[in-house]
Point group: C3
Chain length 140, copies 3
Amino acid sequence: MASDSMFLLAGVSLLSAMQMGYLARRVGLSRIAHKVMPPSVTGPPEFERTFRAHQNCVECYPVFLVTLWTCGVFFSEVAAAGGGLMYIIARQIYFNGYVKSNKKRLPGFYLTITVFVILSLLGLTGILCGILHKYFNIHL
Amino acid sequence: MASDSMFLLAGVSLLSAMQMGYLARRVGLSRIAHKVMPPSVTGPPEFERTFRAHQNCVECYPVFLVTLWTCGVFFSEVAAAGGGLMYIIARQIYFNGYVKSNKKRLPGFYLTITVFVILSLLGLTGILCGILHKYFNIHL
Amino acid sequence: MASDSMFLLAGVSLLSAMQMGYLARRVGLSRIAHKVMPPSVTGPPEFERTFRAHQNCVECYPVFLVTLWTCGVFFSEVAAAGGGLMYIIARQIYFNGYVKSNKKRLPGFYLTITVFVILSLLGLTGILCGILHKYFNIHL
């Protein structure tokens, strides 16, 4: 467990935050293109898919941050940063696919789930080892 | 204020992240059961309640993480972890209740608010004591 | 980069979490005033604007937390805390404006974007300097 500054995790987090801003902007541009004025969230199918794609990313984002940082702090910073970059790519594939059609959201969706499972399992491993070590004096 | 590794907070955070994944899955299963295909978010009342129950958890989740960690870092890790487990249970009661009927969402909702108030007040106490100590040299 | 306790960042984070609770309460009060019962999210224009204003804050909130903490940890805690207070004010202006009319959401919206750009750029500067220092031994 690294105790010094987590530059890679912070960098990936900031990059993912910028991606969230970019995806929100894409929804705004889709509003203009399809003449869907706020606060309405219904309109042509392409707008609704773009809107839902962004909403899904909003739903996933705090879960991503928790799994990124638990994996990075309690297992390996480099592994977590790699997983984080894969997550950002997965979300971009998901978003771009979903904008085109319902079915094209699936590859990016499955890649997102895969990253979540990997980050969670590595983080869980690190936390359980830490708890065994700290509270039960068991070293694995 | 503990400066060493926050295994309990990290463990509760990861558990709550997994719960968020589980609740998202429940919405997906409700989509299949009620034949509501994405990106649509309207359908039979039970689907709409399931969808809103999940959305409410999405709205609460970053607020939970902030109150969990401020309470855990600046007041007491064990108290925060206990509050965090209560939050996870409260959200499950809320979600399961809301799926059944509008009214049955209320017990879990009030329990969630109670946990938020407790975690916030403890975290606020810890932060104010820390600020008085660090910037004004006042020890309480 | 300060390694000791981040009381100001934690205080601003907790304050922003309380604001999120307050804005959620405002949506609840708007439901009662316009007789829009959950799980419905459609109703009179004022309710729909209030609902969307809150949703927009939900979308922004994790992005805010990431930019606040990266700026605070890797650039300057005081600058980040100041930016964080500006964010809270910007969101309140946005919310109150949006409740009144579509157009009145814009000043608070632009102020929010400004805060995001400042926090992100400062955080990015700090992280890049840190990476150059740690991995390439370059001091700026």
